[in-house]
Each structure stands twice: as structure tokens, then as C-alpha cells.
Symmetry: C2
Amino acid sequence: MITGTMQEKPRTAVGRPGGTAVAGPVRSGPGKRPTIEDVAALAGVSRGTVSRVLNGGVHVRPGMLARVNEAVETLGFSVNHAARALASGRTGSVAFVISERDEHLFSDPNFGLFVRIFTRELRKHGQHLLVTTAHDYEEEAFLGDYLTAGHVDGALFALPYEGEALLDRVARSGLPLVVQGRPIGHEEELSWVAPDEEASAFEAVRYLLRQGRRRVGTITGPLNTSSGRGRLAGYRRALGDAYSRSLVAEGDWSARSGLLAARKLLSRAPDLDGLFVHSDLMALQALTVLREAGRRVPEDVAVVGFDDSVAATMADPPLTTVHQPLERSAVESVRVLNELISGATSVPQHVVLATRLVRRRSA
Amino acid sequence: MITGTMQEKPRTAVGRPGGTAVAGPVRSGPGKRPTIEDVAALAGVSRGTVSRVLNGGVHVRPGMLARVNEAVETLGFSVNHAARALASGRTGSVAFVISERDEHLFSDPNFGLFVRIFTRELRKHGQHLLVTTAHDYEEEAFLGDYLTAGHVDGALFALPYEGEALLDRVARSGLPLVVQGRPIGHEEELSWVAPDEEASAFEAVRYLLRQGRRRVGTITGPLNTSSGRGRLAGYRRALGDAYSRSLVAEGDWSARSGLLAARKLLSRAPDLDGLFVHSDLMALQALTVLREAGRRVPEDVAVVGFDDSVAATMADPPLTTVHQPLERSAVESVRVLNELISGATSVPQHVVLATRLVRRRSA
DNA sequence: GTGAAAGCGCTAACAG
DNA sequence: CTGTTAGCGCTTTCAC
């Protein structure tokens, strides 16, 4: 229930008529940014020399260098990006492209990690990271305009779903790009970095089987993603003849879907004694369902999750789960992207990273 | 405990030697993007006409327009951003600047909402949103380079903490900018959009007092943010003579800090019968602490949170909380920013938005 | 309406 | 090492 508006005036907009101006460096003209020419004039050198100083100062006498830097300082000069990009053909920035039809990614703790590592790695090459998003078809087209207009030297794509139109378009434009995760339908012609989903799942399920579990179910991620599919494939290979459709329930990474899937599984296979869940978040829900159904974990049902998230350590019981080398993944992505940008490599690169099983109490 | 590496090979990098080339539009030269000149030649018109078509097609005969568009299509042409920006002085993009020393913001559900609304609003003006971040001092300086180099026409700053150096620098560069939340120390000279923190807190606490609560405590946000300070000020004003330092505990928005603060408060003031918490997340922890201490909510202690987050509805009992008009806030920010960019306004704008108390079961 | 031409501010190749 | 110069691709007057 809502009590109503606390404050009657819906908005107060207050312009400040006089007031102190924001302090700033000396400007040559009113509202005009100083150019490299202004710096050259003040330092008493040529435009070329200033440019050299700006680009690392190689082949410049220390004396000149100091004078130029001083002029830059007093003028408050900073390079005009557009001019530099036009002349050099390089922009010095890279986009992290997130096409999120749902809002999954922003609440994903991995997302922040990726941004952090990307930023750090790119900075080593003097590159800036721009996070760009699209939430629907129109925005996707608009973002496509941006990416193909030469704003960036390359793009890092977040885990795509099958048939993502934006990925197609940008790939066709020739912009160097690296995908996080296997891009279904583009495994060959695009570069990507991904954990070994199939092997991870295979090992996780084998681990359960070796403990004598005979009825091992699985709650999958969405099957239009390579993660969901790859993990299901590994599960299936590990189970072999013991595989049965009734042991599989599809989730969509969300907590709610995990809850529903666990219930479905339990009703279809009441003799379930093992469970491999494609994400920790869904696994946590499964734990709740199992408890409510009176099953002990791991005594009655052993559970393995995926992600090695913080939540996994705090679960009751703490979750045995698959750890992905996310940092490594981000680092490799930037490395590959820069090889593509520099032209050091022209063929698509595919990097598969090993995972490891983190054993805790749930299995 | 970690069982070890699942897969021996740490990485598999597979280049694709032959393979099919990525399909793409016709290119004039090898690796060269078509220019406006190529389009002009193909359409049999001048460069100027093509430019006009590209910029809305006003003052161009329909026939020409169609021919040019056709040429654009067959060439797969898209404008070179750098050249356009250099010639026009406008970039068509706006940065959302997030200087997050801790990782708070990315896990904040509000963050995704801001990105979504900003993107939507900017698109109405043909502008792109770039999310940019800095995690430490060096990255902040690097981001400052980016923002002051003319990459963007303006910047939207996420809720800043006191004395944020980046904000200072960018403000001094003259780049149009709007801050989300009152920027402490720059209230006058910068433009900002913020909820009425003081009034919100005042009303929330008065609501508790009107119920006959006499010992109302508060768990604050960090007191180096305007939110924390403003809400504390409103609390204090509402309490009047009943105010006491022992009723105040500072948190930092994190769940853990809420837990600790609630415990501290309860031990310092065992007769507590009301609690105003500056965020729902911290309030949820307080509920747990109160329950563990054997206090019933709301019978023994009435609790009011802040944010009206999803978690508030699912709390036990559902949380009475202050709803902020985040969407409105984002919309206003973009509006003000564009007034600044276009020059329609040259004085700083200050927008204060009303909030409303959402009454549920906890108070 | 349309074409021609003058830059936007910078880099990079070339002399010296 | 440093100055000179020719563009980078586009917008935007200015004539016609």
C-alpha cells in the first residue's frame, strides 16, 4: 500500500543566475579548446614535435620535451580525439558489447569482474573500455551503427545467445571481435574464449558417479546458449546408458527456474540420488527444494553446482561446484583481440580454458 | 577444498588455417572501408549531397535521396565517426561515469535501471550511451583523459562520494555534466538531480513517531555521501529533542554493515521501538538481527527501509520503505544534460525529486 | 537543390 | 632530432 506523495511539489528546478564560474585552465578563445598549434606556438616548436611528445616523446630532446609538457600544462591542453583518430586510423578504445534482452547480465556478479579485468588489461595497451548495451531490437540496430562507424578498434562480446543479429552484423563489418563463450553457429569464423563446458560437466558428473550415485539428474541452463548445451552434452556423455530424458530439466539461470526444475525432477524421479546443476544460483534453490522434500544433502542426494560463486560457500551445506577461470578468460580475450587489431593474427582464434572442481560438503 | 585441475592442458588455442571468409559487403580496396566519396561516385552526385542525405536528407530531391541510399546500401557504407566528429564538433555520445572504488555499484539493481533509461532517453536524440568505469586512482586519471579528449559530448556521473578527484577534473575541463545525487562540495557549480533525501527521511521518521514510537534508531549510509548525510539530517530534524547519538549507527550500504550496525544499536539502546534504515538491503539484515534478539516486527520494533527494492516485498515481514523515482531521475538527468550540451542553458541546474513512502507490514 | 572548396586538429612520412 | 607538408573523411559555407 502506498501512502501517497510525501512532498507536494513534484520537482524543484533551480537555476543559479550568477554564481562563481567553475575554475579552469586558461583558454585561448572563448569556449575554444587549445589545439596542438597553440601548444607549439607557446613552446616555440613545430606542430610535429608536439605531436611526438604527445605520443611517447621518442626522438625528442629532453629539453624540448619539458618545454612542450609545460605548455600543455599551462594551456590545459588535451588531444582532440576525433582528429587523432582520423589521422591515425586508430581510436584507442574497445567496446564491451552486451545485448541483454532480459536483465540477467547486470545482476550477474561475473559481469563486474569482466569489466574490471578488461579495463585493467586494455589499459596496458593504452586502450579504453566502453561498455555498451542494447535492450531490444531497435537499440541493437543503433548499437550496430555505433560499432561499425569506427568508434572503436574492436569489440568484446558478452556471452551471446543463438542467432544474435548484432553479432552477425558486426562480424560482417570486419570489426575485430572476440566472443566470451562459444557463439553457436559461428564457432568457426569468429574468435572466442570459453571454458571447456563439456569436459567440466563430464568430470562433475563422473565425480558423482564414482561416489556410487546411480540416478543423477541435471538442471540445465537455457539450451539456446552454448553453456547450457555444452554442459548437457558432458552430462550425457558421463551418464552413458544411464541417461534418461526424465532426469533432465531446463532452467534459464534464474533462481525461480531452478526451483521449478528441481521440483519437476523430484516428482519425475523420486529415486534421485545425485544432481548436477548448471549454475550455483539454481543449485541453491534445488537445495531448498530437497530440504523441503525431506532429502538430506549429500546423504540422500549429492549436489554439484557451477560457477564457484560466493553464494556457494555460504550455502547450507556449502556447495561443491565447478570453478571457471573468469579472470583468465578475460585476459585471453583481450590478448586475442589485440592480436586481431594489430593484424598479428588474421585467422579466428579459439581458446578453450580448463575448469576445476571445487569440492565442498554438498557432494 | 579443491580437487585439482580437471583438464591437463591449460589452454588450447586453435587457429583456423583455411576456412570460409566472413561474408561481407563489397569493398573498394582490400581492407579499406568505403568513404563518402565512393558513395558519391557510385550515385553520380557530389560529396555534399551524400552528406546531406546522411544527415537527414533535407533539401535533397527524393530521386537523389533514393539513389544515394541505394549506393550506401550496396557499398555497405557507414560514416566514419572520427571524420564526422572532427568536422562537426559533435560526437553523438554521452558517457555514464562510474568511479567505483568498491564494487558496490555493479551489484546494485538500480544500476541496470539507470543504464536502461539513459540509453532509451539518449536514443531519442540520436545519442549513444557509453558506460565507463574506474576502479582506482590510475584508472580514474586515464578515464579523465578519455572524457576530456572530446570522445563524448557530455557525461552523466553516478552518485559520487565526497572529494572525488575525477569529478573535479572533468568539471574543470568544461565538459557538460550532470551528477546523480548531490555532489558534496559542488552543490552550487555543478548540475545534479537527486531525491529529496532530507524530506524523505523526515517523513519516514515522522511516520514512526506518529505511531507512538519513542525510541527510534537509524542505520545510516556512509556519511561521506550526500545520501547518508541528507537522510541523517532528516532523521535528526524529525526526532528533535529525542535525538541521541546512541541511536545512530553508520553503515556502508553493505549487508554486513547493516548486520553489525543493528547489533550495535540493539546493545546500546535495548528499549529501541523504531528503526529507520537508509537502505533495504541493510534493513533486511536488521530484521534478522531483531528476530534473533526475540523482538517482533512491527509489534516491538517498527522498521522502515529505503529504496523500495524487490527484496523489500519479499522480506518477512514485507518492508515499509521509501520509494525513489529513479526512472524520473534518469529522465531528468538526460534532459538537463542535453540542455547543457545544446547551450540552451548555461547555468547549473538542480533538480530535487519527491519520494513516497510505501507502507507494508514492517511499520 | 546541388556542386565546389575550405577547413576541423592531428599524425606520419619526408627532408634536412 | 626537428620542421614541413600532405592528407585522414566528413560537414558546412558559399556560389550557382
